[in-house]
């Protein structure tokens, strides 16, 4: 899931490439759109996407809780997003966001009364259990796997299709579901909003067909599916808005137009053509059209830019012999010119300068800066640290994906200020994944990457990037950072059930890691989206940097 353009629609944005946006511009607008009654209904909303297919199989989906899959499938919990407040976890199929036992290892959820699938059959705890069990089957791999690492006995379980069941999920009655975890986990309410927690009726769920022919629990059912062409969603009459605080179910029909050229669609949206008025583009606005949209008075607030979101960073390979000394790594913190990087990325509309690892919009985040006050860096301090470490003639390999070359040059030039020579090696996405994310670490000294957490918890910011278990094998600890104390602290903080206490611990870990300097935080990127004049309630919350599809409406 590296570098945004996957064929899957929006884009489990773990690591997402914020395309190089080639200019500087005025400050980003608010991430809201025009006012409109939240409960306006009717009309056909068109969503244009470059993706060839959209998968509606929750087991293999990495969708955020507020995008495509959320239109069709509800989960135990959901997200409430707001452009001016951190995202909150809210009950979805469950009556609350879950109750933990005192030791934090057992979580219990109760389903609301009267919930039904699109065919009128009741949504039971069994259906949720079946949905989760499916996600363990090898033929349905590829989704978010947080629950698979937490549920007791999950490591040996291979799915329900052989008639085997996962005993750590109990369903004492039709409305109660109990999860037994292998360790205490404070964020389980959030994990319960990931796709695999969607119900799947027991007699359905064929791995070969369910992605295109799912059974709806949310406001929209899949009416027709033509891969590469279009997907039509129509209203699921069984869905009851009274039971759902995350979705408004505005449009009567939603059509996904697949395999679209983003530039052409962006042009249509800018011109507000008749077929693009009740529509939006799922992907980011391409650089050329972004300039055009900003300068076109007719576009106005139809161009919606998110607040600061995903962390873009320079990962320092801590296993590289030249970078083993922490003082050398700290020198890089002072040497890097973040302003130049931001300019290479397109300027202010593309992001804000970053100083912490936990990203904005996440509850409990604390802003701090351990290194140079000036985002352009502190060359003298960097040189002092390098001298102290006795490091000279540093020659580093910066391995990046092809779309990051301009940004890499900004890094190269800023490090040249302290006499560190940098060789840039651009790779295509697949080769980069293989060499950097899945390699043995010998191929690079530095790399550029970007991370947006899958759930709005500091845990999702820090554990995937800095836990020693996440080194190599296609995971994202690209700095190959291994610190037993940090591992332990990550475990402790993620086990903490009290939110305030956890937040304090997360901030402390953020500081500890940055003192070790395995990565240089560069910017929190902003994403820009375009919609037609008929679209209302097109809003981007503080997290994630994507519009909330579940609340988009048409008309006033």
């Amino acid at each position: 899931m590296i570098r945004s353009r996957t064929r899957r629609l929006v884009i489990a944005p773990a690591i997402l490439a914020v395309g190089a946006i080639a200019f500087t511009a005025c400050s980003a607008s608010d991430s809201g759109s025009e006012e409109g009654s939240a409960d306006a209904t009717g009309g056909t909303l068109t969503i244009y996407t470059a993706a060839e297919e959209v998968s509606f199989d929750p087991a293999s989906s990495q969708n955020l809780a507020i995008t495509t899959l959320g239109l069709n499938a509800r989960r135990l919990t959901a997200w409430s997003t707001d452009p001016n407040a951190p995202t909150e976890v809210v009950p979805d199929l469950a009556t609350d966001t879950g109750t933990a036992s005192d030791d934090g290892k057992t979580w219990t959820f109760t389903l609301k009364d009267g919930l039904t699938f699109e065919d009128g059959t009741p949504i039971t705890s069994e259906a949720i259990k079946f949905g989760l069990e499916r996600s363990f089957a090898p033929e349905l791999s590829g989704g978010l796997t947080y629950h698979k690492l937490l549920l007791e006995g999950g490591e040996d379980y291979t799915g329900p299709f052989d008639g085997e069941h996962l005993d750590s999920i109990e369903t004492p009655d039709d409305q109660t579901i109990v999860f037994h975890l292998n360790r205490p986990y404070g964020d389980f309410s959030w994990v319960a909003s990931t796709p695999a927690f969607a119900p799947v009726p027991l007699e359905s769920g064929d791995p070969e067909t369910y992605a295109q022919d799912p059974v709806a629990s949310g406001p929209y059912a899949v009416e027709s599916y033509q891969a590469g062409n279009q997907v039509v969603l129509t209203r699921n009459e069984e869905w009851d808005p009274e039971t759902d605080e995350a979705r408004t179910g505005g449009p009567d029909e939603i059509v996904f137009k697949l395999a679209q050229d983003a530039s052409v669609v962006a042009q249509s949206l800018i011109a507000d053509r008749s077929d693009a008025q009740d529509a939006f583009l799922a992907g980011f606005v391409p650089p050329a059209q972004l300039v055009q949209a900003q300068n076109d008075p007719n576009v106005g607030d139809r161009l919606v830019t998110s607040g600061p979101g995903a962390l873009e960073y320079l990962a320092i390979n801590t296993e590289s012999p030249q970078l083993e000394d922490v003082r050398v790594r700290q020198a890089l913190q002072y040497a890097v010119d973040k302003t130049a990087y931001l300019t290479a990325k397109g300027g202010e509309i593309s992001g804000d300068i970053a100083t912490t690892l936990i990203t904005p919009g996440i509850e409990g985040r604390e802003e701090f800066n351990l290194y140079a006050e000036d985002p352009a860096g502190d060359v003298d301090e960097a040189k002092r640290l390098l001298d102290e470490a006795g490091a000279s003639d540093l020659d580093l390999r910066l391995v990046v994906t092809e779309d990051n070359v301009a940004a890499a040059e900004a890094i190269q030039q800023s490090l040249a200020r302290v006499d560190i020579s940098v060789t840039i090696q651009p790779l295509d996405n697949a080769a980069w994944s293989a060499e950097v994310a899945a390699g043995d670490g010998s191929a690079y000294d530095l790399t550029l990457s970007s991370w947006q957490p899958d759930i709005p918890s500091p845990n999702a910011n820090l554990t995937p990037l800095f836990d020693s278990s996440q080194i190599g094998g296609g995971n994202y600890n690209l700095a190959r950072y291994s610190n037993p104390e940090v591992d332990e602290a990550l475990l402790a903080a993620s086990s903490e059930l009290d939110a305030d206490a956890a937040a304090e611990q997360w901030t402390a870990i953020d500081r500890t890691i940055l003192e070790d300097s395995p990565v240089v935080p560069l910017i929190y990127s902003r994403n820009s989206f375009l919609h037609g004049s008929g679209v209302t309630n097109f809003e981007i919350g503080e997290f994630p940097s994507y519009p909330n599809y579940l609340k988009v409406t048409l008309g006033e």
Partner: protein, 340 residues
Amino acid sequence: MTHLVRLVRGIAVLLVVTALTFAIFYLGPADPALSMCGKPCSPENLEAARAFMGFADPWWQQLWTFLTSIFTGRSFGSESVAIECAAPCLGYSFQMHQSVTSLIVERFPVSFAVALGAIVLQTIVGVALGSLAARRQGSLIDRAITGGAVIAASAPSYVVGLLLLLAFAFSFDLLPTGGYVPFADDPLDWFLHLLLPWITLAVLNGAVYARLVRSSMIEQLGLDYVRTARAAGLGERRIDRYALRNLALPVTTLTALDVGALLGGTVITERVFGLPGMGQLLLDATGTIDLPIIVGATLFSALLVILANLAADLAGPLLDRRLATTKKSLRPTRQKVNTP
């Protein structure tokens, strides 16, 4: 005998293409199992995904399995929920949840529709403009046509496509900006959606035809038989007909090559106009490292090119009986210049 040689040669080419595609992608650094591993990706999950997708075997074994499953089909996964890929199985795309064969069956009609219209349009436009230029050699029209042809032939297809979109879709709002409507759903809408892609390709390829026809035509018009015919008092229209008939062979050869290439998908044109054809399929698969699609679609495209060339070879003797090796030609045996 020669047909047999052609057949064997064709099959050999297909085998080489398959083996090369395999080598390039399977031996490269990319690991297709990574995309199926999930997030976070545990080593056990990665191993399971690799085994399930059939990428755990050595590459030569994978190649052998691929080749045999074209005839026998194969299945992926455990007995309980095996994913079946029936013969002719060109692999299974786990990202698209579909066998490559069924993807090709779905996408090919789109590329076929694009190719058919483009071929017709570009041949007509190319032959008409080319012969017109040849007839008026050295005139303003000739220069305009040859000049225009150079520009058109060297313009990248996305430029032509976007210009046409700008003119007909954005400025005048006459035609849709993209997408595809199956013929069976609405023939008129089908036509309207394909018109701009056809014109785009016709502009690009038609220019090549125009240049070919112009130069061959000029050559023909300078030959003895034309002079004789003219001396005999034959009308210029009639002379044109004879000259053009002699162009049938080179034009057919060129068309055959184009048919093969166009059926295999037009990457850029399909992308610009949002057409779900073979080119789009292949392009996206390259981006997402969907190896089964890359290998399967490449093999299929190669097959199309080979078939198209074969068709051109076979058509040759029909169009020019000097190429016929047997006495049983379908054309009249006497090639005579009509006398008045």
